[in-house]
């Protein structure tokens, strides 16, 4: 079999060599064997991604580009293999990239390049209700954006594909504009066009080292010599992780190759229509496409537990020889394929191919400028379908190189979304086993935690909380308690989150109790995962720096706190944080968990180049406890002699129980709107303080709570969060945070854009939607964010996150709405436009529209009327003696 596999590889090699030869004949295809001394952009790797970046740079008028390749032929890494499928029914951000790719390929095909682009459509199958909801949710969001998709029943599905067995299906979706293309031909065409535009290709040239000067790319050492360059682009595919390790400092590219299998049949005897839709049977983790040219089929899988390969490093040469076939691993997938299309049993085997591809730590593409080295760009992690991503990502990366930032928000794919843990090879080995299957899995919002690569970054309280039934979720590999399992008894094995659902989450009643404690009593939440920084300077440099980057006035008295955004020139949030002034030249900053790397990088890029401002990441120095609820003040007063009557904008450093140096902040710091205190505890005191609070808190009915409760609280209170509502394209004015922008300040980044919005109005606004009684919490599908919103039947926006408002006893959601006129141009969104009483708002939850109420104001929640409680209240024998005074 080993030899057989090689035979196939060589057959494909031969074919692509022929293709290359024909291109060479027609266009003077030429590769260079010597390396120029300098170039503006040096791209490492001539796979699909590298070629696409080169092509897009050339299209934008840059031509001083060198693409080098370690092998003797171009595009001979993983780009050679692939299903050749293009699918659009994806989450919005991904879909935008894929649509861009398809647009490009269509254009190439129209221009006469033979890339075999065929709009054969696809069928997305659902075997169960949850999957059907997922498809309907995607259809809802994509349909309003113009994608032609139809929800079909089993019978209709069978009519779309003559081989399909639909007996076990719940339903499915037909997307007619989905397509297939010849991956190798696209790769070659992009290279050819890049060359025609002036990019030089050098092969047999391997990366040796990267020269860095002043934190910026200076030159690339290769086996053929050194090239001075301004930009370096790492598109080295499976080798990109190792390449990142070579430079100083190392660049994090958390990817790991995984074995990917697909099977081809020989030509079938019976003839089928030339174009048949590609079938994606997500629940069986398989896809099956017809190869139009020869009446054969190709089937592949994204299996639940995948097989990582090359953990010890990818061989530089002849890596294919160390790849082996594993039929047993393919057995479940072959079984599923033959169940889905039983007639293929009679077809003859052409080949089984093991074509490893690079998967990332979270299954999403990695793109952008590395935080470690300026002008070092990364495009990596195709996650099993290079064709789908290459066009769109190449476009985005080229734009990023030229303009310094991407043209669309790419937060999800930003190379700065990782910490060092993600790049650990052993971690990646564990994690990518899972990220393959997650490409096809139903990832229920908030209910789809990773199984592998867990318990890595933990708060000192992890074990304590775990022993009390905490169910954890990981963010940035940091374990955060999501909620506490009521049923858990001490000594049981750690509770696990139940299976996810689009209806009411199975663990929901746990949250209700935690919520009640937060609203009416007192609860404790471990919030240690938030990123924390210390900013200092010798004199006032740090203040100047912050005044330049923050929209709020940060020249606050020492001992005060302020919340502020940090923005880009478009006014969009680069960071949303809390600043604590600890001394005139010292600020403590707390930001979102996921922003740990990105914030630091963004600030460093905007700092004075004389290093007068120092930034230190102190995330792991502090354990953060949020004591929340009307009884929190009384409880904490028992543990400290300090006065806890803190004005909202003031913090104190106090002793708590026997621990010293605990920073305590009032309600302002929490973004929950509840009376509460945040305690920033030096980590060595964390267990002590926690135990003391719990001991004393017993008398107050204190209980543990988790992040999901916090989330309900903030959504109910209409408080937007970074990564959900807020991103680099969202300005304070759009989310009702005008009051935190000080226009009377001197220039700060983004001021002009915001001023323009102030004058002209904003084109989108964050709104809180409240569902009416027609939404039955027990029987209807819940909103989770990502649902389209309709105003008088016209699509006007989408929700971003949703929760349950326990006090209002309604589902609530946050979301943006805009104001398109008849031509689709966006008009300013005013309060009147939103709050117009004669307007009907609806949101579409998996195909069903629900009436909602929209508001731009924080809801007025009834006061919980917390009574002052005491530890002990004596009960009098004879009540008649005393009477209440009035």
């Amino acid at each position: 079999m080993f030899f057989y596999r090689r035979a196939i590889v060589s057959r494909e090699c031969r074919r692509s060599v022929e293709t290359l030869a024909s291109i060479a004949n027609s266009t003077g295809w030429k590769s260079h064997s010597t390396l120029p001394k300098e170039a503006r952009v040096v791209i490492c790797g001539s796979g699909l991604f590298g070629n696409s970046v080169a092509y897009h740079l050339v299209q934008s008028g840059w031509s001083d580009i060198i693409v080098f390749e370690q092998e003797s032929k171009f595009g001979k890494g993983t780009s050679m293999h692939g299903s050749g499928t293009l699918a659009l029914l994806k989450p919005v951000q991904e879909k935008q990239i894929i649509a861009k790719s398809m647009e490009l390929y269509k254009k190439l095909q129209a221009a006469g390049h033979d890339i075999n682009y065929e709009e054969c459509g696809s069928l997305y199958l659902a075997q169960n209700k949850e999957r059907m909801v997922l498809l309907k949710r995607r259809v809802a969001m994509n349909q309003v954006q113009g994608l032609d998709c139809k929800i079909l029943g089993p019978q209709e599905l069978a009519e779309c594909h003559p081989l399909l067995n639909t007996t076990d299906l719940e339903g499915g979706v037909l997307v007619s504009s989905d397509a297939t293309a010849d991956q190798t031909a696209v790769c070659d065409t992009l290279a050819k066009l890049a060359m025609a535009g002036g990019a030089k290709y050098v092969n047999n040239c391997a990366f040796v080292n990267l020269q860095v000067e002043n934190g910026r790319v200076a030159a690339v050492d290769t086996t053929l010599g050194t090239i001075q360059c301004e930009f370096f682009v790492n598109c080295a595919g499976m080798w990109s992780w190792a390449l990142g390790q070579v430079s100083h400092p190392k660049v994090r590219i958390p990817t790991h190759p995984v074995e990917q299998f697909y099977l081809k049949t020989q030509q079938l005897e019976k003839n089928f229509p030339t174009l048949l839709p590609t079938v994606r049977d997500y629940d069986s983790n398989i896809y099956i496409r017809k190869i139009s040219s020869d009446n054969s089929f190709l089937m592949g899988c994204f299996e639940k537990v995948a097989k990582p390969i090359f953990t010890q490093g990818v061989p530089k040469r002849n890596w294919r020889e160390s790849v082996q076939l594993d039929w047993d691993h393919c057995a479940p997938f072959l079984d599923s394929c033959l169940k889905r299309m039983p007639k293929l049993r009679e077809s003859k085997l052409h080949s089984l191919v093991n074509a490893p591809d690079n998967f990332t730590a979270d299954g999403k593409w990695i793109l952008g400028e590395a935080p470690e080295i300026d002008n070092y760009f990364v495009g990596a992690g195709q996650n099993g379908n290079a064709l789908q991503a290459a066009g769109g990502l190449g476009h985005a990366l080229a734009h990023w190189i030229i303009e310094g930032e991407p043209d669309t928000p790419l937060l999800e794919f930003d190379v700065r979304r990782f910490v060092d843990v993600h790049n650990n090879r052993r971690f990646l080995y564990e994690r990518v086993k899972e990220t393959v299957g997650r490409q096809f899995a139903i990832l229920h919002p908030l209910q789809s935690e990773y199984k592998h690569g867990r318990r890595i970054r933990c708060s000192p309280l992890y074990s304590t909380l775990s022993a009390q039934g905490a169910v954890f979720g990981s963010r940035m590999c940091f374990e955060r308690p999501l909620y506490f399992d009521r049923e858990y008894k001490a000594g049981d094995s750690p509770p696990e989150m139940p299976l996810g659902t689009y209806w009411k989450p199975l663990f929901f009643e746990n949250i209700r109790e935690e919520y009640q404690a937060c609203r009416e009593g007192v609860a404790l939440i471990d919030m240690s995962s938030y990123s924390k920084f210390q900013l200092t300077s010798a004199n006032d440099e740090v203040l100047d720096f912050l005044q330049l980057t923050c929209s709020n006035d940060v020249n606050i008295p020492v001992g005060h706190i302020t919340n502020t955004g940090m923005h880009n020139e478009r006014g969009g949030y680069e960071n949303d944080c809390m600043l604590v002034r600890q001394a005139h030249n010292n600020f403590f900053m707390v930001g979102p968990t996921k922003q740990q790397t990105r914030t630091a990088d963004w600030m460093k890029r905007n700092m004075p180049i004389d290093y007068s401002v120092q930034l230190t990441d102190v995330t792991s120095m502090f354990t953060v406890l949020l004591v929340i609820g009307p009884k929190s003040k009384e409880l904490l007063s028992q543990l400290t002699d300090s006065d806890l009557r803190l004005p909202p904008s003031v913090y104190k450093t106090i002793s708590m129980a026997h621990a010293s140096d605990v920073m305590i902040m009032g309600s302002n710091s929490t973004n929950t709107g509840e009376p509460s205190y945040s305690l920033y505890i030096p980590s060595e005191y964390a267990v002590h303080v926690y135990d003391e609070i719990m001991r004393v808190g017993k008398n107050y009915g204190i209980r543990n709570a988790g992040y999901l409760t916090l989330r309900q609280l903030r959504i109910e209170k209409f408080i937007p969060f970074y990564y959900e509502e807020i991103d680099s394209e969202t300005t304070p004015l759009e989310i009702g945070r005008q009051s935190r922008v000080k226009f009377d300040k001197h220039y700060f980044i983004g001021k002009f854009a915001m001023q323009r919005q102030l004058e002209q109005g904003v084109n989108r606004r964050l709104v809180q939607f409240t569902l009416h009684d027609d939404h039955d919490a027990e029987n209807d599908i819940w909103p989770y964010g990502g649902e389209p919103v309709f105003r008088n039947g016209i699509w006007c926006g989408a929700t971003t996150s949703a929760g349950y408002a326990f006090t209002l006893e309604r589902r609530v959601a946050l979301g943006f709405i805009n104001n398109p006129d008849k031509n689709g141009n966006l008009q300013p969104v005013t309060n009147d436009y939103i709050m117009n009483k004669n307007v009907l708002y609806q949101i579409d939850i998996a195909g069903k529209r629900f009436n909602v109420h929209a508001s731009v104001h924080q809801p007025k929640l009834p006061s919980t009327g917390a009574t002052i409680s005491h530890d002990y209240q004596p009960t009098l024998r004879n009540k008649a003696i005393l009477q209440l005074k009035h």
Partner: protein, 503 residues
């Protein structure tokens, strides 16, 4: 031609064969049934033994000990006879005066005599070689005082030793051993070298066997019937045995091997808890046979150039003997005169070996390999070639690994030959049968039995009972064509212990 006995000798002492010598070992391999295939001539076969009966046969010789000494956690061993009586032997023992343990597998040929004797004596020789001379002095003195002549010095403590030497031989061997002790004690304390001590023990034991075969060490006071004794010692010297011995002391593993037994180390390549995958096999021995280029060169260099093209004939030493190192086999060690004097009277014409001009051609000098055990080394398999004919080292390690994980793992599936037009449905059917098999738990708790069972009946889709039953019920005169005696010892190492040892 398939009725050629597969044996190391083409001329057996008991039953001489008329076969053509040109059918060497290479042809033997043809008769090993490859996975998933049964020669057409053998079909159809029906199950003649019930699964229980098969299991009873397979487990007859199994043995497990929880040792828990140093780095050794436990061991499993088992034997399955093909010859009657079995020509393979095994031995496991703890050294009483030093801290190590010894494990040996011996594969006899031309009768079981030599292997039996070597398995009984070799560990004593090795254990004695490890002792410093002052300890030896003391031991010898004690022995002289106590006059416990009929007993060996207690240098080792054997496990599961089911045989005892007959009395007259015991006395003779005791005397020979005393000679060895005297030699060792008179050496003085030179720098100790495990390599040379192991070599010395192997070589000296063989020398003693040779001498005893000639009657040189037999004196009248030993026994009433010297002629009878000489018959025995001669049969020992005439038959032969290959040996592989592992000495394990903490993290130090020494393997001494002469002949074609193999020692294989099972090593983890993955950190994962799932023991069913992520193994690699490290072979710690070189087989001394004609396929070993270096070994062939060694022998050729020891003899005059004009003999070169006759020393290895048909993959065998002088056209007769498959292993190129062995105990016994005096016909390849003695000079023409010695053969004429001691052997010819008994064997007549058969005593001579063709082309033997400048003996000795055969040595018992072992090849010694040292390996420092690491925490990722989990077990050691010692097997006679009966096992390695059926399983590759990698397969064997996989099997023991999966046995440790409690799951069933099969050899990777590969398409049958001539698969150009194979239908997906056909592949699918086989893969589904394999998936069923993967769910099964190993039948045997003893990993050596597990290996033997899989060696005999492993197929693409799991164990084939018919095949196993067929192998076990073959008539005595043909069974040797299809399987040799199999002896396996699997030694499990203590990972926790090894991870605490200094690197």
């Amino acid at each position: 031609m398939i009725f050629l006995r597969r044996c190391r000798y083409f001329l057996s002492l008991s039953k001489s064969l008329n076969g053509d010598v040109s059918f060497g070992r290479v042809y033997w391999r043809v008769h090993v049934l490859p996975f998933g295939q049964v020669p057409v001539t053998l079909r159809p076969y029906s199950a003649r033994l019930s699964p229980n009966e098969v299991t009873t046969i397979l487990r007859a010789n199994e043995n497990s000990e929880d040792v828990n000494i140093g780095s050794i956690k436990s061991y499993d061993s088992n034997q399955l006879a093909s010859n009657s009586p079995i020509e393979d032997m095994r031995a496991e023992a703890r050294c009483l005066l030093t801290t190590g343990m010894l494990f040996g597998v011996y594969d006899g040929h031309g009768g079981p005599a030599c292997a039996q004797v070597v398995s009984k004596r070799l560990f004593n020789y090795i254990a004695a070689s490890l002792l410093p001379s002052d300890v030896l002095h003391k031991l010898l003195l004690q022995q002289n005082v106590n006059k416990l002549e009929s007993q060996f010095l207690r240098l080792i403590d054997t496990f599961n030793d089911r045989y005892e030497m007959v009395e007259d031989l015991q006395a003779l061997y005791y005397k020979s051993f005393q000679l060895y002790l005297q030699e060792l004690s008179s050496q003085g304390d030179n720098e100790f070298s495990m390599h040379s001590e192991l070599e010395r023990a192997f070589i000296r034991l063989d020398e003693h066997i040779m001498k005893e075969g000639k009657g040189e060490l037999i004196t009248s006071d030993h026994c009433d019937n010297n002629e009878n004794l000489l018959k025995k010692t001669l049969s020992v010297a005439l038959s032969g045995a290959v040996a592989a011995v592992a000495h394990i002391d903490c993290e130090h593993l020494h393997v001494a091997s002469c002949g074609d037994c193999q020692v294989v180390l099972g090593t983890r390549t993955s950190e994962a808890d799932d023991l069913s995958t992520g193994w690699s096999a490290v072979v710690l021995t070189n087989e001394h046979n004609a396929e070993n280029e270096k070994e062939v060169q060694r022998i050729l260099m020891e003899h005059p150039e004009n003999e070169r093209d006759r020393i290895i004939l048909n993959q065998r030493l002088l056209g007769q003997l498959a292993p190129l190192r062995a105990f016994g086999d005096c016909r390849f060690k003695w000079t023409k005169d010695e053969i004429a004097e001691y052997l010819a009277p008994v064997l007549g014409q058969q005593a001579n070996v063709n082309h033997s001009i400048t003996p000795p051609y055969l040595t018992s000098k072992p090849e010694v390999i040292y390996h420092r055990l690491r925490p990722k080394d989990r077990f050691i398999i010692i097997g006679s070639d009966g096992l390695w004919d059926m399983l590759s080292p990698a397969q064997a390690v996989r099997l023991v690994g999966e046995h440790m994980s409690g799951k069933t793992v099969l050899s990777p599936y590969s398409l049958p030959p001539g698969h150009e037009d194979i239908k997906l449905g056909t592949i699918h059917a086989t893969l589904m049968r394999r998936m069923e098999a993967f769910k099964l738990k190993p039948i045997d708790s003893n990993s050596a039995t597990h290996l033997i069972r899989h060696a005999l009946s492993g197929t693409d889709y799991g164990l084939d009972h018919n095949r196993l039953s067929y192998y076990l019920t073959m008539p005595e005169n043909t069974v040797r064509l299809f399987r040799d005696d199999i002896t396996v010892t699997v030694i499990f190492l203590d990972t926790d212990y090894l991870s605490q040892r200094p690197l």
